[in-house]
């Protein structure tokens, strides 16, 4: 079954949090991918919601572009909102 399309799996671990990439799997269509995602990635009560995306539908940045894309922000510390005190009770920022 290795010729089946690859899918990327995203799980929301609890309400209020964002879906997070947890891994991938092979499945012929969305319905089968959903069943497999449930069986492979939520066996230990990991989540409350699943998103699936065909890996082929993801556009990824090229590793060779790393310098051009990301280096320019390296020395611009003033873009970080790190000069404000944050209240303790605000989580997940």
């Amino acid at each position: 079954m290795s010729e089946l399309p690859l899918w990327e799996v995203f799980i929301r671990s609890q309400h209020g949090l964002a879906h997070k990439h947890v891994g991938s799997l092979h499945a012929s269509d969305a319905q089968m991918a959903m069943a497999h995602a449930r069986d492979v990635y939520t066996r230990r009560n990991e989540g409350v919601s699943i998103w699936l995306v065909r890996s082929a539908d993801i556009t990824a940045s090229a590793p060779g572009d790393k310098d051009a894309l990301f280096d320019p922000s390296n020395d611009k510390v003033y873009r970080h909102p790190s000069f404000f005190p944050m209240p303790e009770e605000i989580k997940h920022l």
Partner: protein, 252 residues
Amino acid sequence: MTAYEPKVECLLRLGDTALVLGHRLSEWCAHAPVLEEDLALSNTALDLLGQSRRWLTYAGELEGKGRDEDDLAFKRDTHEYRNVLLVEQDNGNYADTLARQFYFDVWHQLVLQHLTSSGDKRVAETARQALTEVTYHVRRSSDLVIRLGDGSEESRRRMQAAIDEFWIFTGELFEVDEADQAMIGEGVMGDVRLLKDAWCARVTEVIQQAQLRLPPASAMRSGGRRGVHSELLGYLLAEMQFLPRAYPNTKW
């Protein structure tokens, strides 16, 4: 033949059936065709094991001989087991395992739905707990029967052969004997004969959707519920019971 009280008998039938099928499915662990299916079958096996523990624990308490779930699982011989013959059949190829599972899951869901209105609160609660798991099982096995039946030429041929092969074990699922009658009378268990039409309708629907043909009518085999098993159960128990029999009372 060992005789049990009617209620213990009926609870053992539920518990043993879940236990034996759970063990059969666990035999696929690390041998399934793909990783995703391997985990899915192991999940189902664990669901069934959990359900069997609850039925067997209750059976042991009612029996009143001080036997717990482990005693009942590991210290009974084949003639004392009460599972239906369907679930002790060998795994065969993947289509065989799925056909067996599909016939069982559709029946299991109907039986548990029926038992949620049992007059025995513990039976009703155990059935209710199991039902969410089984709702997923039946969806999964139905889906795969359709995919393989309506798949390639080879998968269609194998799925048809498997659907035909296990058909003869489905009659036993709807048998009612004196023990069942007694429990139906007390409102503890449901009358499985009333579920047969719903089972046939659901099974027919899936088989047709899978572009397969219904198995031809044939003589049904039964006996497991009375403790009359094929030799297959002996091999299964030999493996399942080896450790506690070889090393009694051993702990992790």
